[in-house]
């Protein structure tokens, strides 16, 4: 079972206490944006075999959204971090690089 630490309340919460909320770090394209951007914001998602960044919500708990970095192949969790950020913190990136040198995900590496 997947266990993630909520960065807001510090609880090691297991999957049934959380809700998966899709991909992390999406850039929103709203009204007035061009069709290609809007389409990619709505529909285009990463489906990697390897490093992945996800958004989770501690729904049966403090109710906050947070981000998690994990590997879809080994199921290893590299870390979780608060959602008020545009890119993963450096220490999480370093942890991933130590385990999987040369990784990349969208614009991050």
């Amino acid at each position: 079972m997947l266990t993630l630490q909520c960065p807001y309340c510090g609880v090691w919460a297991e999957e049934t206490e959380l809700h998966a909320e899709g991909e992390a770090h999406l850039k929103r394209f709203g009204p007035g944006s061009d069709d290609a951007d809007f389409e990619s914001y709505l529909f285009m998602r990463e489906n990697p075999k390897g490093v992945h960044f996800e958004r989770w919500r501690h729904s049966n708990g403090c109710g906050k959204f947070f981000h998690a970095a994990r590997c879809t192949m080994t199921l290893e969790v590299f870390g979780t971090y608060p959602a008020q950020t545009l890119e993963p913190p450096q220490d999480i990136k370093d942890k991933i690089s130590a385990k999987q040198p040369g990784w990349s995900w969208r614009d991050f590496s």
């Binding site: 807001y8 309340c9 510090g10 609880v11 297991e14 729904s59 049966n60 708990g61 403090c62 109710g63």
Partner: protein, 188 residues
Amino acid sequence: MSEAVSALDGATFEGFAKVEETGLRGMITVRGDLASKEMSAAIKAATGAAVPAQRKVTSGDKGAVAWMSPDELLVVVDYASVNETVATMTDGLKGSHALVANVSDARAVFRVSGDSSRDVLAKLAPVDFARDAFGAGDIRRSRIAQVPAAVWGNEDGSFEVICFRSVAQYVFDVLKVSAQPGGDVGFH
């Protein structure tokens, strides 16, 4: 004014642990900047307690304060004094970005007591109830079977569970099943 009654009117069940509905309880949701001076002064004035640390409960002469999330507290006082407490806190937090709301009638509170009360709860919630991991003064928001709930430990070794009033019967029923004689697992 109509007579206020709690969700299950003090229902009790005696199995290998005792489950009881505690009756009316004054509960106030407070949101805002927990680190601010105004917040600690308002909490102190309302309950006599300090602002609790992460996942802790503090108590004072007039009530208890539980940590709910990084920007939310639950103030627990007598049902009779809840309006007065809301007024004190609203006044104390005037001018800062904060919310004080009386949620007493939206909740139900259960007490689980007895030597095996940890087992009763551990069967229902994905929480580590080991004695060194969860004890008096700790609070954990989680779920009881299929509904959200919060559990805290009291000084006397009993536990209190708060849930939404709309699911009070469900929570009482699952606690009853979990505490049913013959179902003691003797783990904790």
